[in-house]
C-alpha cells in the first residue's frame, strides 16, 4: 500500500483514512506493507518502521511483531507534502532547500540515501518515490498493490510494472476538488494515468465516482465506492469546559478554496447581526487565512470571530467539545471526515451538499456551500431551537455506529478478491 502520510503526522483526512483502512484490513487478517514518503519517528507503533534508505530491511521489523503481526511499514525518505500543488510546493520548499549535489547519483546508487530536505520540485520527488516503489516491489512479496491519490500513483504503476500484480487506485480527492476548474495539467495527467493503469478504482464517495467517470473517462463498472468511516464511534465525553458564556460556531479545517471558508465568514456576519451573543471560530491554517482575517476585520466582527491557527492533539478535541454548531461549507469535498468527529462530540453539524459525507450522514443540515442565507438560518436554528439540536445529537450518534472501518475493509477485501480473480 502506497500512501502519503500516516498518523500522527497528518495534514488532512487522507492520513486518518489510511490509518482506518489499515486497521480495518488488519482486522480481516490481511498482511500489509505500508509505504509512506516520510517517517518522523513517533508514529503509533502498530507496524515495523523500516527505513527505505536501508535496503537491508532492518532489525526493528521484529520488535513490534507482537503488536501488529500483519503490517510492515516502510518509509521513503522524501519531502512530499500532501495537499500542496506543484506551484505551492515550489514556494514552500524554496525556503528550506539546500541543494545537494549528490542527489542525482544517489537515485542510482544501491542505497536510496536521501537525507532531510532535498529535491527541486514536487515531480522529481514523485518520480523518486516511484523508483523506490519499484525496488520495494521487487524485494517484497505481495499479491496486490494499493495506491492512495496521485502522489503515490506513479509508485503504484512502477510497482505493478515490476511485479505484475494488480493495482487498485484509491481516489480520496481529485485535482478538481483541490483546484476547482483551474486544474494543474501535470497532476491531472498523473491521476488519469493512475486510474487507467489500475485494475480497479476505489472512490470515497458517489460524488467522487461521478467526477472520475465524467472527467477522467474511467468506466463506471471499474469503480467501487467505499465511504470513509470513523475509527471509533463512541461518544467522546470531554471534561473540557467552555470559558465564554456565548455559544460557539466552529469551522475546522484547512483554510483553502476547497473548504469554502469565505462562505462561513459571510454567514457568520449574518448571524452576528441578528444575535450578538455568538462566537465564531475558524480553526486551521491555509493560503486563504490572511484573506479571511482581513474580511473579518472589514466586517467589524473581530471580537466575535476568532482564529486559532492550526490545532492538533487535545486542542482539536477541545474545540469540538466547546462547539455548539459545527459547519463544513466545503465547495468540493470528496468525503470530509471532520463532521463525523463533531458528531462524536455531540455537536450538531451543518454540511454542504457538495461533500461525500452528505451521502452517509443523514442527521445533519445540508446546504449548498454558496447559500450563505441558508447557512445562517441553519446556524441560527441550531443555536436557538433546542429541539432540533437535540434530535440531531441523538440520531447522529446512532448513525455513527454504522460507520466502521471494519465494514469498509470488508468491502475492500471483496474488491481485492474480485480484482485478483479478474487478473489472468
Amino acid at each position: 500500500m502506497f500512501g502519503w502520510e500516516f498518523p500522527p503526522h497528518i495534514s488532512g483526512g487522507l492520513g486518518t483514512a489510511c490509518y482506518g483502512l489499515v486497521k480495518g484490513l488488519a482486522h480481516h487478517k490481511q498482511d500489509i506493507i505500508f509505504v509512506v514518503p516520510k517517517l518522523w519517528g513517533d508514529e503509533e507503533p502498530l507496524a515495523d518502521f523500516v527505513n527505505a534508505s536501508d535496503v537491508t530491511i532492518d532489525y526493528r521489523e521484529k520488535r513490534f511483531k507482537k503488536f501488529w503481526k500483519n503490517l510492515t511499514y516502510l518509509e521513503v525518505s522524501s519531502f512530499l507534502v500532501p495537499y500542496l500543488g506543484p506551484d505551492e510546493f515550489k514556494k514552500y520548499t524554496d525556503y528550506s532547500i539546500h541543494d545537494r549535489t549528490d542527489v542525482d547519483e544517489s537515485i542510482f546508487s544501491n542505497k536510496f540515501e536521501f537525507s532531510g530536505k532535498y529535491g527541486k520540485d514536487l515531480m522529481m520527488e514523485v518520480s523518486r518515490y516511484a523508483l523506490v516503489a519499484a525496488h520495494i516491489a521487487k524485494a517484497k512479496e505481495h499479491d496486490i498493490i494499493h495506491a492512495h491519490d496521485w502522489l503515490s500513483f506513479p509508485a503504484g504503476i512502477a510497482a505493478k510494472e515490476i511485479s505484475g500484480k494488480p493495482l487498485v487506485a484509491n481516489v480520496h480527492a481529485t485535482e478538481f476538488d483541490r483546484s476547482g476548474e483551474s486544474v494543474n495539467q501535470v497532476v491531472y495527467d498523473i491521476e488519469r494515468a493512475g486510474m487507467h493503469a489500475a485494475d480497479h478504482v476505489v472512490a470515497v464517495s458517489q460524488l467522487t465516482k461521478n467526477i472520475i467517470i465524467k472527467k477522467y473517462g474511467v468506466p463506471a463498472h471499474k469503480i467501487t465506492v467505499l465511504h470513509n468511516a470513523v475509527l471509533d464511534a463512541s461518544i467522546i465525553k470531554s471534561n473540557y469546559e467552555k470559558k465564554v458564556p456565548e455559544k460557539i460556531v466552529t469551522f475546522l479545517g484547512r483554510i483553502t478554496f476547497q473548504k469554502g471558508p469565505e462562505y462561513f465568514v459571510e454567514a457568520a456576519k449574518k448571524v452576528i447581526d441578528r444575535d450578538p451573543n455568538v462566537r465564531f471560530v475558524m480553526a486551521g491554517n491555509g493560503d486563504l487565512l490572511n484573506q479571511m482575517i482581513d474580511r473579518v476585520a472589514e466586517l467589524r466582527m473581530g471580537t466575535k470571530f476568532h482564529f486559532t491557527g492550526f490545532l492538533k492533539g487535545d486542542d482539536v478535541d477541545h474545540m469540538y467539545a466547546i462547539s455548539d454548531v459545527y459547519v463544513m461549507p466545503s465547495v468540493s469535498e470528496p468525503f470530509g471526515i471532520s463532521p463525523l468527529e463533531a458528531v462524536r462530540h455531540n455537536t450538531p453539524v451543518i454540511i454542504s451538499k457538495q461533500s461525500g459525507v452528505a451521502e452517509v450522514l443523514n442527521n445533519a443540515i445540508k446546504i449548498d456551500f454558496w447559500d450563505i442565507d441558508s447557512m445562517a438560518d441553519a446556524i441560527f436554528a441550531l443555536l436557538h431551537y433546542e429541539g432540533i439540536a437535540k434530535m440531531f445529537k441523538e440520531l447522529g450518534t446512532e448513525e455513527l455506529k454504522k460507520l466502521k472501518w471494519e465494514h469498509v475493509a470488508e468491502k475492500l477485501v471483496n474488491v481485492y478478491q474480485k480484482t485478483l480473480s479478474q487478473k489472468p
Binding site: K243, V244, V296, A297, E298, R300, G302
Partner: protein, 401 residues
C-alpha cells in the same frame, strides 16, 4: 542665538503574551512578563545604562552647557520600576542635574489624541502624576505626543491643557519650502509653540549612522559640524529628535555611536556658534516666525510621515474601534486590574504590529514586531481584547442587578 535641541523618545510597550482563543474567558493575565523583562534588561545593558552614564558625564563636564531632553512613557517607567530600578535611578540622577528636561505625553504612549479628548487628557494627567512622583515633583512644560503625532486640533487640545510648546515632525509635505529650523506656533491657539524635527540631520544619526552603504559613511563630528555650519545663519534651532534606543541598540556600540556623542559637544563648541538647549528653552528664547498649518495629522513614522503605521487598514481600524468602544464603560469601573489593562492595551505599538505596508517600510515594522505577521498580531490582540470586553461587561452589569 543658534542652538541644538536634543530630544529622545524613551518607550517600551508592554508586549502581549501569545494568547489563544482557548484562553478567552479564563486567563486574565495578558502580558508577556518574560519577554518584557528580558527585552528591558537587554536594552538597559546595551543602551540605557551606558548612554545615561555618558550623558551624566557630559552634563558635568560642560557645567550644563550640554543638555538634553527626554520623554519617557508611563509604560516604560512602570517597566523600569518592575525590571530595571538601576536604570530608573540613573535617569533620576540625570534629571537632578537640572540640565535634563522631561516632557509630558500620554501615559501609555497611545493614539487617544485621535479618538477621545477625554481619554487623552486623563492619560496625560496620569503621566504627569507619574513623573511628579518618580522625579521629585518635576512638572513638565512641554508636550510630546506619541510618535510626534500632531495636528492643529491636537495642538489646540495641548494648549488648552496649559503647555508652552509641543514637538512634532518637520514633515516635508507640511513645511513645503519652509525650514524646520524655526519656531512656529499652533494655527488655532498661537500661545502654543511648535518645535519641528530636522529629520535630515536627526536621521543621519538615528538611521544612517552605521550604514556602510551610505555615501556619507562614516559620520564624524567634523562632518556633522560642517553640515550644521552650512545651515543658513538666520535659522536658529536644529531640533534633533530621535529614539533613545538609537544609542547602542539601533546603532550598536561597535558603530562608534557612543564616541560620536561624546565628541560632539567639543566639536560644536569649538567650531560653531551653536549652543545646546532644551525644548522649553528653545520655546522661551526663540521668537516664532509664524503659524504652521497641519489640518491632517502627521507623525515621524515611515516615508509618509502620516498615521498609516498605526491606523488605516482594516485590521488596525477594527482593533482600534473595538478597544475605544469600551472607554465609557471602563471609566465607571473602579478596579485596578481593569484600569491597568485598559491603559496598556491602548499602547500604539499593538496597532503598529498590525501594519501591512510590507513594501515601503515593512522591514522596520518587522524589526520591532514580536509577531511573524500583522495577521498574527491582530489575532492575538483581538483574543485579548475579547477577554477584556467580557471582564468589562461583567464589572459593568453586576452592580446594576
Amino acid at each position: 542665538m543658534r542652538t541644538i535641541c536634543f530630544y529622545f523618545q524613551v518607550h517600551q510597550p508592554y508586549r502581549l503574551k501569545p494568547y489563544r482563543f482557548f484562553d478567552i474567558g479564563d486567563d486574565h493575565h495578558y502580558w508577556d512578563d518574560f519577554s518584557n523583562r528580558s527585552i528591558m534588561r537587554k536594552v538597559a545593558q546595551k543602551c540605557y545604562l551606558p548612554m545615561n552614564a555618558i550623558l551624566l558625564e557630559m552634563i558635568h563636564k560642560y557645567n550644563g552647557a550640554f543638555k538634553v531632553s527626554f520623554s519617557m512613557s508611563g509604560v516604560f517607567l512602570d517597566q523600569l520600576e518592575a525590571y530595571a530600578p538601576d536604570v530608573l535611578e540613573s535617569f533620576q540622577k540625570l534629571v537632578a542635574t537640572g540640565h535634563c528636561e522631561l516632557l509630558n505625553e500620554t501615559y501609555a504612549h497611545t493614539l487617544a489624541a485621535l479618538k477621545s479628548k477625554d481619554e487623552f487628557q486623563s492619560m496625560v494627567k496620569k503621566h504627569q502624576e507619574k513623573i511628579k512622583k518618580l522625579f521629585n515633583g518635576y512638572q513638565p512644560k512641554v508636550f510630546r505626543n506619541t510618535e510626534l503625532i500632531y495636528s492643529d486640533q491636537i495642538g489646540a487640545m495641548v494648549a488648552e491643557m496649559g503647555f508652552e510648546a509641543i514637538l512634532t515632525e518637520g514633515a516635508k509635505h507640511v513645511l513645503g519650502w519652509k525650514s524646520p529650523n524655526y519656531v512656529y506656533v499652533n494655527s488655532i491657539d498661537p500661545k502654543l509653540k511648535v518645535l519641528l524635527k530636522n529629520f535630515q540631520l536627526s536621521d543621519d544619526i538615528a538611521f544612517r549612522f552605521g550604514n556602510k552603504g551610505w555615501e556619507d559613511y562614516p559620520l564624524t563630528t567634523d562632518k556633522f559640524v560642517k553640515w550644521i555650519n552650512d545651515v543658513p545663519e538666520e535659522e536658529e534651532t536644529i531640533n534633533l529628535f530621535m529614539d533613545y534606543e538609537t544609542f547602542g541598540e539601533h546603532q550598536w556600540a561597535e558603530t562608534g555611536i557612543f564616541e560620536f556623542m561624546k565628541a560632539l559637544p567639543d566639536a560644536v563648541f569649538s567650531k560653531t556658534n551653536f549652543t545646546f538647549s532644551t525644548p522649553s528653552e528653545v520655546a522661551a528664547k526663540i521668537s516664532p516666525v509664524g503659524k504652521i498649518h497641519v489640518p491632517i495629522p502627521i507623525s515621524w513614522a515611515d516615508e509618509e510621515r502620516d498615521l498609516t503605521a498605526w491606523l488605516g487598514n482594516d485590521l488596525q481600524d477594527e482593533a482600534f474601534d473595538r478597544l475605544y468602544e469600551m472607554e465609557k464603560l471602563v471609566k465607571n469601573i473602579d478596579d485596578d486590574d481593569i484600569q491597568r489593562d485598559w491603559t496598556y492595551l491602548q499602547t500604539s505599538d499593538h496597532f503598529y504590529y498590525m501594519c501591512t505596508k510590507f513594501f515601503s517600510d515593512g522591514d522596520i515594522h518587522a524589526y520591532f514586531s514580536p509577531y511573524e505577521s500583522p495577521y498574527e498580531a491582530f489575532i492575538n490582540y483581538m483574543n485579548v481584547l475579547s477577554d477584556f470586553i467580557i471582564r468589562v461587561k461583567e464589572k459593568t452589569t453586576l452592580p446594576q442587578d
